[in-house]
């Protein structure tokens, strides 16, 4: 005899999952609320177009940091997303349970547990010491590497759950494996790959430690990717902990801008890659 009727169990779970979602939304709304409440007052035209003012002075902006974040994040994505997708594709479609595949899988998964500061030290050892100066390129490498495990895992899992029926239909049509994988399986799994890529992009937008070892910071407009570059991530860190109320407010403003940036990219990508037809068959 059941303790709870099937109908009631269903109702219970519905309410429980609703309750959990609401509970989860609370801290989110709270922290977003803090960011907006504190940050909105800092945003004005000077904020968006000027370089930072020295501590103790009011005014100044974060424009060079905005540009720097865009440049470095774009370069990191150009490295991290393709490498992640290709690796994920391999693990899903070509890998067997052999040693080679296990090694790849272990490498990808272990990268996801490496503290961000270690990526910074790695990039510093490989690139900055060799070049004898801090460069934005090293930052792109460190951040791109951080993106790889997230994108690869998301790609692998999304492609793995694509039904074999689809693959078999493609084989029956004589489509070669590479086209099957890229155009058909990846096409169906595309949502997951995009989610993973956007998650990875959001992740690197919030990391400071790797940048302190690679692109460091600059008070001026970027002059080249082989030089230090200002980024929102480092600026927020510097300003928030500076103890100057003006700068702390600007740190909140910069965070708001960063969050807006990530949302805009999220929305834009999802709109552009929206499936034309409803999923399901």
């Amino acid at each position: 005899m059941r303790l709870v009727s099937r109908k009631n169990a269903n109702l219970l779970i519905t309410l429980l999952s609703l309750a959990i979602t609401i509970i989860a939304i609370v801290p989110l709304l709270w922290i977003i609320g803090c960011v907006i409440a504190n940050g909105a007052s800092a945003i004005n035209l000077e904020f968006l177009t000027d370089t930072p003012a020295p501590y103790g002075e009011s005014g100044g902006g974060i424009a060079n940091a905005i540009l720097g974040t865009l440049i470095i994040n774009a370069m990191a994505s150009l490295f991290g997303i393709p490498v992640g997708v290709l690796t994920g594709m391999y693990l899903s479609e070509y890998a067997n349970s052999g040693k080679f595949s296990s090694v790849i899988r272990a490498s990808v998964e272990s990268f996801s547990g490496v503290p961000s500061i270690i990526f910074g030290i790695f990039a510093f050892t490989l690139i900055v010491t060799a070049a004898q100066h801090y460069t934005a390129l090293a930052a792109a490498f460190a951040l791109g590497l951080m993106m790889v495990p997230i994108v690869a895992k998301a790609t692998e899992e999304s492609m793995r759950v694509v039904s074999d029926d689809i693959r078999e239909a493609a084989i029956a049509l004589g489509i070669p494996k590479w086209a099957r994988t890229v155009k058909i399986v990846l096409g169906v799994a595309r949502g997951g790959v995009i989610t993973g890529s956007l998650l990875a992009f959001a992740r690197i937008s919030g990391e400071t430690a790797p940048l302190l070892f690679t692109s460091l910071f600059s008070f001026y407009w970027p002059t080249g990717i082989d030089q230090p570059m200002a980024t929102l991530q480092v600026l927020i860190y510097n300003f928030a902990l500076s103890g100057y109320p003006d700068r702390v407010l600007q740190a909140w403003g910069a965070s708001l801008l960063l969050v807006i940036l990530v949302i805009v990219i999220n929305v834009a990508v999802k709109v552009v890659t929206r499936p034309k037809y409803k999923e399901g068959f």
Binding site: G206, Q233, G280
Partner: protein, 315 residues
């Protein structure tokens, strides 16, 4: 009938494509090996100088040349497990609500909300945790608990807000969007035909979820949890601000309201100033240990996946 020439073309294209995939994968492996070797090389002064006492020592005093990492290792494991334990039910709840119960029109704003959380910089989580949450949680949660069941050592006082428990809470909030996003993605891929089968048998929504969607998504959820755990193990900035940075936990004070130090908060706090080879080496050895912990948990996950996935073959 296909001509021999186009078959050969397809074979060549396939080979080239496979080559590209393998190159990318080899690049990842190569970089991982390079990282691992770098960590070993940099931590050599500590491995040789501190020896095994590094893993069992409970005192960290660079001024006297004593480096014991045990409290940090235990703290890292404890905070990450606690964070993921808190995060999994919440993330699952969100994912199930989203895929099964949410009205279509609320889906876009909901996804936006979840992605927003993932976008917030770690240092802002840290500041929010320290300035906003810590005093509140101290007064309204921690101190009442200490007052009522504080005689149990694990809930002992005094409570100051910043602590192992606050760090775990903040970590959990940071990890939820990762697990939730990916779980939503995987759950939505449940073949409709399977679900329709259940519905035609008269199953309720929850029964369909429990018997079809969740088992189908099991491996994907495990992968999402793995990514979330990885994030929790590696998170640096936010933790450093709210964990209290003291070697009290667990040996001097086993309470979850005690200040503690994790591997990442120790590295972040001391790396920039560490100058001697053995000091730097000790901090790098800490991250090497973290890597080993990650490898071990992943291997464990893999084992569980293989056990539950017998018979799933890929062509």
């Amino acid at each position: 009938m296909r001509s021999k020439k186009s078959s050969a073309n397809y074979n060549r294209q396939d080979t080239i494509f496979k080559g590209i995939l393998i190159s990318a994968s080899l690049l990842v492996v190569g970089l991982f090996v390079a990282l691992f070797l770098m960590l070993i090389r940099e931590s050599m002064p500590s491995i040789l100088g501190n020896g095994f006492a590094f893993l069992t020592g409970t005192t960290w005093d660079p001024g006297k040349g004593v480096y014991g990492a045990l409290p940090a290792i235990l703290t890292t494991i404890a905070t990450s497990l606690l964070a993921v334990a808190l995060a999994i039910p919440v993330a699952l709840g969100i994912a199930i609500f989203f895929t099964e119960y949410a009205p279509e029109r609320s889906k876009f704003p909901l996804t936006l909300f979840v992605d927003l959380l993932a976008a917030i910089p770690s240092v802002i989580f840290g500041i929010w945790g320290l300035w906003v949450i810590a005093p509140l949680i101290k007064t309204y949660v921690q101190q009442p608990i200490v007052a009522s069941i504080g005689f149990i050592p694990i809930f002992g006082g005094p409570a100051y807000g910043i602590s192992l428990s606050l760090a775990s809470l903040i970590l959990a909030i940071m990890v939820v969007p990762i697990i939730a996003s990916l779980t939503i993605e995987i759950l939505s891929r449940t073949p409709v035909s399977l679900k329709e089968g259940m519905i035609s048998l008269g199953a309720t929504k929850w029964e369909t979820v429990k018997h079809v969607s969740l088992p189908f998504a099991r491996l994907g959820i495990l992968a999402a949890v793995m990514l979330g755990l990885g994030r929790a193990l590696g998170e640096t900035m936010a933790i450093t601000m709210v964990i209290g940075n003291s070697y009290m936990w667990p040996f001097a004070n086993p309470s979850i309201f005690a200040p503690a130090t994790s591997i990442t908060s120790k590295i972040a706090s001391e790396f920039y100033e560490a100058t001697s080879a053995i000091y730097v080496g000790s901090l790098i050895e800490l991250s090497l240990i973290l890597l080993v912990i990650t490898l071990a948990t992943n291997a464990l996950f893999r084992y569980v996946i293989n056990k539950t996935n017998r018979g799933a073959k890929r062509q």
